[in-house]
């Protein structure tokens, strides 16, 4: 399946082989995946042990594991994780909420949309995470600058996503509703909200990833707690295992959240699919 026509023509052998002994094959593939991980971890440990790689910048898988175990036994780690999650989720709520308000304004006035979009596109040229230092100077080292940074990042993603969705709604359905005498409130209730909901759900996954990244970048720039603080503090005092362990925690969290969202997306997807059928 993965091969294009071109490559399947080039390597017909691989394709015909893939149709054979499916169960054995998936076992072999899992074994190969495991082998890749074991090779990388083993090579890492051995090269640091033999001083081919400097311990000060690479740590070793073993010290990183020790660090993780130490962290997971102390209650403080819950506090750091909780702070980062709080920043990301509050910022997401603020940013997405503002974006929804603005797009609701677009529904009610196309003049407002035409006036606002050039400004938004212009502001879009600023790499938003680059605003971190500014927010730190303005709002200090606490939660506020991170929440605002996350909100800024999420706002733009959601606004452009919904605005895009607004322009792909079914024109014929819209005119039909208008002919049938639907007012603005009915149109919003029965048409725009269901139609844009699918777009919103599709945007949630991307924007939550960015929300997390923004919270952590904010913590890199200046903070006194949180996962990003643990990572950058480890870097600052030459304890690579803290940096690696912190990043591993972040990765585990991100992958868990992403997986949860993909489940949510599938559940909510039915809703959006019903909309497609309606179109």
């Amino acid at each position: 399946m993965a091969a294009s026509v071109f490559w399947s023509n080039m390597s017909e052998v691989a394709v015909s082989r893939s149709s054979l002994r499916l169960r054995n094959r998936s076992l072999v593939i899992w074994a190969a995946r495991l082998l890749v991980v074991v090779l990388i971890v083993g090579f890492w440990q051995i090269s640091v042990d033999n001083r081919w790689l400097p311990r000060i910048s690479f740590g070793t898988p073993r010290t990183i594991l020790d660090q993780l175990i130490v962290w997971l036994q102390t209650p403080q780690i819950v506090y750091h994780v909780f702070l980062t999650l709080l920043e990301a989720s509050l910022g997401f709520l603020v940013g997405a909420g503002l974006a929804v308000l603005i797009v609701a304004g677009f529904i009610f006035s196309s003049t407002f949309e035409r006036a606002t979009m050039p400004l938004l596109s212009m502001l879009n040229a600023i790499p938003r995470m680059a605003l971190g230092p500014l927010y730190i100077v303005w709002f200090g080292f606490d939660l506020a600058p991170k929440i605002i940074l996350v909100a800024t990042v999420v706002f733009f993603i959601v606004v452009f996503n919904l605005q895009n969705g607004l322009h792909t709604v079914s024109r014929s359905l819209l005119s039909n509703l208008r002919v049938l005498g639907a007012g603005r409130v009915e149109m919003t209730r029965y048409f725009y909200i269901p139609a844009l909901f699918g777009w919103f759900v599709a945007g949630i996954r991307t924007s939550i990833g960015f929300a997390f990244a923004a919270a952590i970048v904010g913590e890199y720039i200046g903070s006194t707690a949180g996962l990003g603080y643990l990572i950058s503090f480890g870097l600052a005092r030459y304890r690579p295992e803290e940096t690696y362990a912190g990043i591993i925690l972040v990765l585990v969290l991100v992958i868990l959240i992403d997986y949860g969202l993909s489940l949510l997306e599938r559940r909510l997807g039915h809703w959006a699919l019903g909309r497609e059928a309606l179109d």
Binding site: A2, F6, S11, T111, A115, A125, P127, A130, P133
Partner: protein, 268 residues
């Protein structure tokens, strides 16, 4: 009286209305900023001021002190973009040629794509030091995934009818590669380049925040440490000045390529 003279506002067309509102949305906040900072309601130390920002930018550009930093950041972005593109294209081509290998690496690629790559900056600083190399690595990591996915799916979506027809007409494998596959890869690569330029700058600047000895991100990070809002503003202006020509260049290239775009799935 009111009945005979229509109001100025109502007399404008809808498009002109929007333009007026658009100008106001930019001009009013700027004016409020300029007035409040010059009268002294807002402290220039927290809000900077247009005059301070302008004079710092003038000093940077006329004195020439900003150019090495701009060059450093642009160097990181360009080299990272090149590495990311080359790696992305190579992986996409070889993994679509080797389906088994693709299946083995698939979970790693998906996990790598789910990770926000900017947060890996400290790791690259640990590995490669505070110089340009670690920033190039961050940009490369940032760019690799969109390129890989775009080109991988682009290759899959190359029109099978077109390929079959070309083959019927006697096209050799090399003809297929040069006339169908490479042009479509180029189109997909440019499409991802367009989305990637902003991310590349973001990655370079954020990586410079976490530890650097030069570059515009270093200037901004340093300004945050000494609390100079003017310098942060000026740094952000410089970033925008660098991003815009890149975006322009990419859309220009895309426009050129449109002319000989190969038939996509819609046309056979």
């Amino acid at each position: 009286m009111p009945a005979t003279t229509p109001s100025f506002y109502a007399g404008l067309s809808k498009a002109a209305n929007a333009r007026l509102l658009s100008v106001c949305l930019v001009a009013v906040p700027l004016a409020v900023w300029a007035i409040n900072t010059s009268v002294g309601i807002w402290q220039p130390s927290t809000f900077s001021s247009p005059r301070e920002l302008g004079s710092l930018l003038f000093e940077w550009f006329s004195g020439g002190s900003i150019y090495p930093h701009m060059l450093q950041t642009i160097f990181e972005v360009v080299v990272g973009l090149v590495f990311g593109t080359v790696l992305g294209v190579t992986f996409a081509l070889s993994l679509s040629a080797l389906p088994t290998l693709y299946e083995i690496f698939n979970p790693f690629i998906i996990a790598g794509n789910a990770i926000p790559r900017v947060i890996l900056a400290p790791i690259f600083v640990l590995w490669l030091g505070f110089g340009a190399t670690s920033k190039i690595a961050v940009v490369t990591a940032m760019i690799f995934f969109p390129f890989f996915f775009n080109i991988f799916h682009g290759l899959k979506s190359v029109n099978a009818d077109l390929v079959n027809r070309a083959r019927t007409l006697g096209a050799k494998r090399l003809d297929l590669v040069t006339n169908i596959y490479l042009p479509s890869v180029a189109v997909w690569a440019l499409a991802s380049l367009r989305a990637s330029v902003g991310f590349a700058f973001l990655a370079a600047v954020v990586a410079e925040y976490t530890g650097a000895s030069g570059g515009v991100g270093y200037l901004i990070g340093f300004a945050a440490q000494v609390g100079s809002v003017t310098q942060i503003f000026a740094g952000i202006c410089v970033i925008m000045l660098m991003v815009l020509p890149f975006n322009f260049l990419v859309s220009f290239m895309e426009g050129r390529l449109e002319r000989w775009r190969p038939a996509s799935s819609g046309r056979t």
